[in-house]
Subunit: 106 residues, 2 copies
């Protein structure tokens, strides 16, 4: 039997740190819900992932930075594909609301 | 350079049929946005997919039916994982609003 879960269920209240929930974990794909609230990556903390990542800001706002200096702002519904090895970091997330990401690692 | 797209952009107006947009197409994963407006699968039209599918109703409402007679209702934010070979069909989508699905085939 397939279980139904809700993406908006159990949104964390205490957001001192980002909170990650794994929605699906399979050999070829992992789907996560990530909740941020003003967090950003540490200044030198580039993500340099061996997996590719398709990510959408479902709610909230964020800025991703790339190691060529480029920045992109993501608002509700914006999605971007980050190929494996594409060095990036979260430069900013909105301090005034929760930012909820859906990330598909593949 | 990674391009940003918006999930809510260009929602189709003419919804005589379901409208499918491919957001990502890779060897191991395909991500689609599917917009329905009252459509359901043909009565005998079971989906019997060789790929697994994780699907979320981002907005709207729908009912999935399984070949054991079970039905599950999905509303905004509800997601379900459908393993390969899990025979299912869309029994109903809300005729009063657009139902927008995010489907990850893997």
């Amino acid at each position: 039997m397939q279980a139904v879960s809700n993406f908006w269920a159990s949104l964390p209240d205490d957001l001192e740190h980002e909170v990650i929930d794994t929605l699906l974990d399979d050999d070829s794909v992992r789907i996560e819900r990530i909740v941020s609230h003003g967090q950003s990556s540490p200044e030198q903390g580039w993500y340099d992932q061996t997996q590719s990542e398709w990510v959408m800001v479902v709610k909230g706002a964020a800025v991703l930075a790339f190691d060529d200096g480029r920045e992109v702002r993501l608002e509700s519904g914006d999605h971007i594909n980050l190929p494996a090895g594409c060095r990036h970091r979260v430069a900013w997330t909105d301090p005034d609301q929760k930012t909820v990401w859906l990330a598909v690692f593949y």
